[in-house]
């Protein structure tokens, strides 16, 4: 593994995680959470956990995001924090 790539992805994971809980729009939060999952999946792929990364890519970044969007669509995008 190449440490600069590792480091960049880790920083991105943290940024996406913080952004997902800070942003004041739930649809945005859902998409940022998808990005977070995808970064996480890259991190795991780098660490050699290919099966876990594959699952996270299809579940975390794929289906989970769809569920979030569906739930936000059925409720509201509004949030105060």
């Amino acid at each position: 593994m190449i440490w600069p790539v590792d480091l960049i992805i880790m920083v991105l994971v943290m940024i996406c995680g913080i952004a997902a809980i800070m942003v004041r729009d739930l649809l945005g939060a859902a998409i940022l959470f998808g990005a977070y999952s995808f970064m996480m999946c890259l991190l795991w792929a780098i660490m050699g956990a290919v099966d876990v990364a594959f699952t996270e890519a299809s579940v975390g970044a794929g289906v989970s995001t769809v569920f979030f969007v569906a739930a936000v669509f059925r409720t509201s995008r509004r949030t105060k924090d």
Partner: protein, 276 residues
Amino acid sequence: MKAFALLTVLVLGGLLFYATPDFPPWGDPESPASLHVSPYYIEHSMEDTAVPNIVTAVLADYRGYDTMFETSVIFSAGIACLFLLRVYRRKSDKTRLYRHVHTGVTLRIAKGGKLPENTDEFERIDSLWVPYDLIIKVCSRLIVPFVQLFALYVIAHGHHSPGGGFQGGVIFGAAIILYAISNDLRRAFRRLNERAALLASAVGVLIYVGTGLLCLLLGGNFLDYSQLAALLHTNAIMARSHGILIVEIGVGLAVMAVMVSLYYNLSSAGRHDEGL
């Protein structure tokens, strides 16, 4: 609340931080976790199960019991969502809205009146403005079969490459969800309706549990696939390999059906109307 949250988080962080100096260095091949049980898996999975992907071998055979419950977890999530959200409504005699597919004209039909449900000429809609995008519909329809084919490949090739029942099932489910998003839920119901999805999820897990039970009836312990050798006309090792494939198919079926059913219930809030 924020101060309390910060305090809790800091205490927790401190606790986790406290132990870290005693961790073995990251990525160390000599760390205790890599020396006790896992070498057995790495060195013996090939001769025990004839499956090169060690993760699949451990997942579906050595620790197959965990995976059986993992599938049951996802099954119970599907049932839980249905149980919580589903709204059963009697056929209302309110006004119904239909759209003529080829022209995009919306028809409003008053009390009791009804258009034939299963024609391609008209489709039922639930609000006056429902987006209708031909390009997206056609493009998705082109993509869906390839996604499904890939999903089947992932399930079938889990022995040799990353993948397996769970990933394949999710991708297959995602293909159907894509179809449901680009068209609408009613159309997706024509391909895979609610009862079929429920039945498929239960049957999928039953394939898994039933395989285990069959091993038990054949005289071995629960989930001991080597007992299937007599039925499959192979030796014990290949029987394990085939047993893994059978349960992976079960997992794939169950996961696909549950993902679709979760999407149906979440996207329509249990009403099973046109969805997103």
